[in-house]
């Protein structure tokens, strides 16, 4: 049977997440997982099962995440995983979209007086292993013909600890991670993120190869969140919009008041409504977990809607 049927039969979505990444996935004091990646899992659960809490979170490490997905232990993996050719083709996964456009950057203490990554010749650099980061780093320094001393570390918490204690001159990971980390410093202003972005890191949810129904569900749940923001559908006004269908037919189709997109996916008519109500649209989630008003304080940047000059672009719902 397909994953969608399995999930419905089980009544739970098994969602692979990070073991702990500030802003994206971490358990709170009540043992509830919270974060930007986590919210996507909840939206999928809401869309499929109508209950945003019907999720089992499986914490995975860089080493175990793909096996967990391949073996069927989890139904989807939302763990700041970069969409690459080999992962998509050789490792046989399907990336269903991008929920965060990231890029690898460097953070250094202001006091170091460095303004460009190219000045980092001979520097000690902390990198989180098990990601594409170490490959990008190797490539960057090789192409610029400068040397560095890599300090591999397992988790972001350790990377931050080493960086703060001065055990490395620079810390490199995805810009989002850098910003999130910097935000928790006692004095965030004492650290700068260097302008170089050495890689493209489209982070997105992925599912197993060959289960297109399930891939569609996850893909369009993500798009529903993005489209909702584009059309101004928020968790606050969605009930009203459902009750009084607006003039925009795109919104009506998205919310299921018109057409039957949901049943085509094998879901209920109001699947998108539930997904959006689970935590809000893309913009709401962004602001809630990683946006400017959170301690992490990420700007929208590339992750703004295409209408605002960003890269977020949901295909039409029709």
């Amino acid at each position: 049977a397909g994953t969608l049927d399995d999930v419905k039969a089980r009544g739970k979505v098994n969602c692979g997440t990070n073991t702990g990444l500030v802003g994206f996935a971490a358990p709170d004091a009540n043992g509830e997982w919270q974060g930007f990646d986590v919210a996507l899992c909840r939206a999928v659960a809401a869309a499929v099962l109508g209950d945003h809490s019907a999720v089992e979170f499986v914490s995975t490490t860089g080493r175990t995440r793909f096996t967990a997905l391949a073996s069927g232990e989890i139904d989807l993996l939302v763990r700041n995983t970069t969409w690459t050719f080999t992962r998509d083709v050789d490792l046989k996964f399907t990336f269903v979209g991008v929920n965060y456009y990231d890029g690898q950057g460097f953070m250094v203490p202001k006091s170091l007086g460095v303004t460009s990554a190219k000045e980092l010749d001979g520097a000690t650099i902390c990198i989180q292993t098990g990601t594409t980061t170490e490959l990008n780093l190797a490539d960057f320094f090789r192409t610029n013909n400068i040397s560095y001393e890599p300090v591999p570390i397992e988790t972001n918490a350790e990377g931050q600890q080493q960086y703060l204690a001065g055990a490395c001159d620079a810390y490199t990971t995805d810009i989002s991670g850098l910003a999130a980390t910097r935000a928790t410093f006692e004095d965030p202003t004492a650290h700068v993120i260097l302008p170089e972005i050495v890689s493209k890191e489209p982070l997105g949810p992925l599912v197993r190869h060959g289960d297109d129904e399930w891939a569609d569900v996850v893909r369009w749940t993500l798009f529903a969140l993005i489209a909702a923001e584009e059309y101004g559908v928020t968790s606050a006004n969605i009930d009203e919009l459902v009750a009084n269908p607006a003039s925009n037919p795109e919104i009506s189709r998205l919310l299921g008041t018109e057409g039957d997109l949901g049943p085509m996916l094998g879901l209920s008519v109001d699947w998108a409504v539930k997904a959006i109500k689970a935590g809000g649209n893309y913009g709401e989630l962004f602001e809630k977990f990683i946006g400017q008003n959170t301690p992490i304080g990420l700007p929208r940047g590339l992750n703004a809607q295409w209408t605002d000059g960003g890269l977020l672009y949901a295909p039409p719902f029709r």
Partner: protein, 418 residues
């Protein structure tokens, strides 16, 4: 003396497969063997099917493709353009390095602590007991991350060495820098170096090192010859000539001459750019792993040493003393040879444990074989089956070699009994 009469011929009945002791064991073994083979066949069949479903047939081809990642510590040359196989080899050498360093330090500490635990000094004995209890009752992984945290958080950064109001300074006449990025110590350099000796497999060995080792071996042999001569003299006259200065001389003097000839000098680390440059860099990851494994294992070794010494009957010491032997001689001639027999086997199995525990290197980012082959290579290539199997084989080989040595030793020193 007697003719063997053949056992009476019996007709074979099926029931005898179970009831007859001669056939019974055969029956059991065949049943067990076929069950085991069935099980193995089932597992292998499942694996093949699963791999087919995933479209990932077993292949070790990835080992010869470029690794593309950097390793900060290597004992042989390596760049990110080298193969995964070479990365694994670098990792293996790093595993062996930390294992050897760890065993050495753990032994020294363990023996010291084990002996001090037997000390008549109440305070020292108590402290050592506390040491043993604290270290062996907390998981080694916790000790490793703890050690790393201590190194990082309590030591000065290179920046602290810089400028007018430096808060930290180098030790021993600016030759050693202890920083939270590791310890920098002077490195030996040769101004008239003999160059490298390339070996197959792109491994190069420094000829200087070869020369030094060869001379050292020669010196040791000469020293042994002097010792044997002293022994002969003792056997002949009963007087043992003092030879330590001679023996030291034949080892040290030629070395000194060779080093002078090679233009030996030390390369001191100095603060340049972001880091100390030059010298040998003992990285935090290595230090943390090394110290944590050594301190943890030392607690076990201390217990082994203590038990070994206690296992020797007091009567042995008394008998030796009654013969007029001095305490030092009693230790060397009577107690140690016996205690070592008791100590060495469990000691070697502690070495084995330490080597296996060194696989926890990944917790601090030390690039041992688990970190390279079982870590980044596995992640980058997605070849779990091949990587983990290779990894297990490597550890198994190391273990089997160590236990072969242990068995050989046990067989050699076993006390002769009736």
């Amino acid at each position: 003396m007697t003719m063997m009469t053949a056992p009476p011929k019996q007709t074979f009945r099926v029931g005898m497969l179970i009831h007859d002791t001669r056939y019974r064991s055969l029956t059991i073994q065949i049943v067990v063997l076929s069950a085991a083979m069935l099980m193995a066949a089932w597992l292998i069949n499942n694996t093949i099917q699963n791999l087919a479903v995933l479209g990932k047939p077993i292949s070790f081809g990835f080992l010869s493709s470029a690794a593309q990642y950097d390793i900060n510590q290597m004992l042989v040359s390596y760049t990110n353009q080298d193969t995964h196989l070479r990365a694994a080899f670098v990792g293996l050498l790093n595993t062996l390095l930390v294992a050897v360093l760890g065993c050495a330090l753990a032994t020294v500490l363990g023996v010291l602590i084990g002996v001090l635990r037997l000390s008549k000094n109440w305070l020292v004995a108590r402290l050592m007991t506390a040491y043993v209890e604290i270290f062996r009752n907390v998981p080694v992984l916790l000790w490793i991350v703890f050690a790393m945290a201590i190194l990082i958080e309590t030591l000065p950064t290179p920046r602290d060495f810089r400028g007018e109001e430096a808060t930290a300074s180098m030790l021993l006449g600016d030759s050693i820098a202890i920083t939270n990025r590791g310890v920098y110590i002077p490195e030996p350099l040769f101004s008239r170096s003999l160059g490298d000796l390339p070996l197959p497999g792109a491994v190069a060995i420094s000829l200087d090192l070869v020369a030094i080792l060869a001379l050292l071996a020669g010196g040791l042999a000469a020293s042994a010859a002097i010792r044997r001569r002293a022994e002969r003299i003792q056997n002949a006259t009963g007087k043992r000539p003092a030879t330590w200065h001679l023996r030291l001389g034949v080892i040290v003097l030629p070395q000194a001459a060779l080093l002078a000839a090679l233009g030996f000098h030390l390369g001191y680390p100095e603060l340049r750019g972001f880091n100390f440059q030059g010298g040998i860099h003992l990285r935090n990851s290595l230090l943390a792993l090394w110290l944590a494994l050594s301190f943890y294992t030392a607690a076990f070794i201390a217990e082994i040493v203590r038990a070994g010494i206690l296992a020797i009957d007091r009567g042995q010491t008394e008998a030796a003393a009654a013969l007029g032997l001095r305490p030092g001689r009693i230790m060397r001639l009577v107690i140690l040879p016996q205690a070592l027999r008791v100590i060495i086997p469990p000691l070697i199995s502690q070495y084995l444990n330490l080597t296996k525990n060194s696989s926890l290197a990944i917790a601090v980012g030390y690039m041992d074989i688990t970190g390279t082959l079982g870590g980044i290579t596995l992640n980058q290539t997605g070849r779990e089956l091949e990587c983990v199997l290779l990894l297990m084989l490597v550890y198994l080989a190391i273990s089997l070699i160590i236990s072969a040595v242990m068995n050989w030793y046990n067989a050699r020193v076993r006390l002769v009994e009736r």
